[in-house]
Symmetry: C2
Subunit: 358 residues, 2 copies
DNA sequence: AGTCATTGCACCATCGATTGTGCAAATAAG
DNA sequence: CTTATTTGCACAATCGATGGTGCAATGACT
């Protein structure tokens, strides 16, 4: 009711209204007033004025003075993918619970854009930065370091500061083994029947491939190089790779290890163009979990990275005094076909009927 | 090289180094220097100093002075869902292209949290706010209005300010009709065979239901009330509703209109618990598109909302001087089963091999 | 040489909150 | 009643960038 005008109330407005000084108002409203020996009644008065005038602090001013902002950044490769968006969702909840404001930005896996985005965030004096899945984590590190900003890597490790990542080697092993064991003993998989598609020259892909090859050698007794097809992450490049294989062999490999759900979309595109092929006798293992993918008409075994665990660990590590860079591995989980897992969405209440407080 | 120390350079540092005043430095670096008749050579000097010292403006200071921040907010219900995350992705690209910084936050469909989140964003002096899928858009409106903040509704309309939303009635019609026509003439659908699950008491659900009922009446000659089951958006509530139907009838309806891909996850959960039921003779229509869902083992017809179109329209409308609140409808698109559409991810280059600029 | 216009820039207040310091008034101690 | 202590708060500098105003130096022109 007070002022439905345009301008927001400031501590100066309240100082006039309450008859005390701006510094007193400030102290009362930011909680340091006991330390400043402000009388309870004065504080009470100011608090009630703040209430009726809907005072909220101007955080730019506060941030300018204190060179903190209350903003915590998450730098993502992309938004629209269930893995990264659930990271964002979980990250948000953590930041909120600390009374800070999450700010989630994507940088398209472009090293230059990653650095520029970090610089932009820094210019807003963000308090911490979580660097997730960066193509060039160390480049971002330098930018952060120059600004004295606390930061940490997630999902893809850097060398200059600690990282929290999935145990991609173990995940790769688990997934590869599950694919192989999914085939009946009667028609077992040959080494040449199991291909890996997707991913690129990053730590996660390397580790997964390492796990993939290790298990193949161990269980299938062979591990031909041509079975590794790192196509990058773009769905269309993956599609082309499947298309090329299909053109040569007239079919897909019986077993597919797909490096990410984004690459999996490339497989879907391929399938859309081959509507009459039923792809029976096909088993797909996909790194990253997507509930819909899990129910596709062929067996899809997925790896769910422990998003909650990684985020929690990252917050734990970033709060600690900085030590020598270390890589913290978080174990991922194997998800059998046709599995609908709960996720961060389940934490939400289903609220109806907006109440209007006229 | 310059200073790898901790503090960032300010215009004062550059002013000392260049021998000119802070205001001159400021003018040079923010582009207003011609207006201020700064000599070209002075500008040149300052620019080169800024370069070598890696100057970047402190945006909190700038924002404080100019009461703008360069931040543009997007308030989302949730992140981890392909519809909302592709909205985020598209929104980001638009904001970036205007040289501003996107800030995407979710508020869990909680009216209280929506308002508080808006207030927080306002306290950072964001320049504009896009309110997407809010449970209580008018509540958020009031908060924005009190702060004199430009804002607009997306996805769910408000009454106090313009909105850009999908044509949910038409989308509902399209989808319902497609479901019905997907059944062979030999075994046509009865009115009681086609159910709608999910959604709640919001504008989008109402419109979709209206379209659903209209088409049912028109094509099936009947539209029983019990076929409408608004379960809210929580996946588990949808699951329970399917479970309940199944308990009563021993099967699912032959035709299902699922109100959102989040509700669809509830269907998956249901299916996971009935592994031996093949759900042949089932056709699902789902509002919202998910590439993986499109390839499920039963026919899934989806509606893709025109995310790019909505975002573009919203930017267009928000830039215009505010007029009487209007609802702008954007037509959604019907997506046949087994369709892999491209999305915002396809705009990204697939960059490899990070270059390090030691 | 004197007047006037132009060029080139410095000065200073300002945005709103924070925080170290100082100082009256109230209370306690002697 | 005086001195010492505590209480309660005001003052003013500060964070970094912006933009209005003013003023000296230079050049143009009579």
């Amino acid at each position: 009711m007070a002022n439905s005008g345009k301008k927001k109330a400031t501590i100066y407005d309240l100082s006039v209204l309450s008859g005390s000084s701006p510094s007193t108002v400030s102290a009362v409203l930011n909680g340091t007033w006991r330390k400043r020996r402000i009388k309870e009644s004065t504080a009470e008065l100011i608090r009630s004025l703040a209430e009726t005038h809907q005072y909220t602090a101007n955080r730019q001013a506060r941030g300018l003075r204190s060179s903190r902002s209350g903003l915590v950044g998450l730098l993502l490769p992309v938004h629209d993918n269930r893995y990264f968006s659930s990271l964002a969702q979980t990250f948000e909840a953590h930041v909120r619970s600390k009374g800070q404001c999450p700010i989630v930005v994507s940088a398209s896996r472009d090293p230059e854009e990653e650095r520029k985005t970090a610089e932009t965030l820094i210019s807003y004096s963000i308090d911490e930065l979580f660097i997730c899945g960066a193509t060039d984590p160390d480049g971002v590190h330098e930018v952060c370091e120059a600004a004295g900003l606390k930061h940490i890597n997630i999902d893809l490790p850097g060398t200059k500061v600690s990282s929290v990542i999935s145990d991609n080697f173990e995940g790769g092993r688990l997934l590869t083994e599950a694919i192989i064991r999914h085939f009946p003993a009667g028609r077992p998989l040959e080494p040449n029947d199991l291909y890996l598609f997707g991913g690129r020259n990053d730590h996660a892909s390397h580790e997964r491939i390492r796990g993939f090859r290790a298990v193949k050698k161990e269980l299938l007794g062979g591990d031909p190089d041509e079975c590794i097809q790192p196509t990058g992450y773009a769905p269309n490049n993956a599609r082309k790779a499947f298309e090329a294989f299909y053109a040569r062999h007239g079919k897909l490999p019986r077993g597919l290890f797909v490096n990410s759900s984004i690459n999996f979309e490339g497989l879907l595109r391929f399938m859309a163009e081959h509507p009459h092929d039923n792809f029976t006798d096909l088993v797909v293992g996909c790194y990253d979990y997507d509930p819909f993918a899990s129910f596709l008409p062929f067996p899809v075994i997925m790896i769910r990275q422990n998003v909650e665990g990684m985020i929690a660990k990252a917050f734990e590590v970033i709060e600690q005094p900085r030590a020598a860079p270390r890589i913290h591995l978080v174990e991922p989980e194997l998800v059998p076909p046709r599995t609908a897992l709960t996720g961060p969405l389940d934490a939400l209440k289903d609220i109806d009927l907006p109440r209007r407080k006229t």
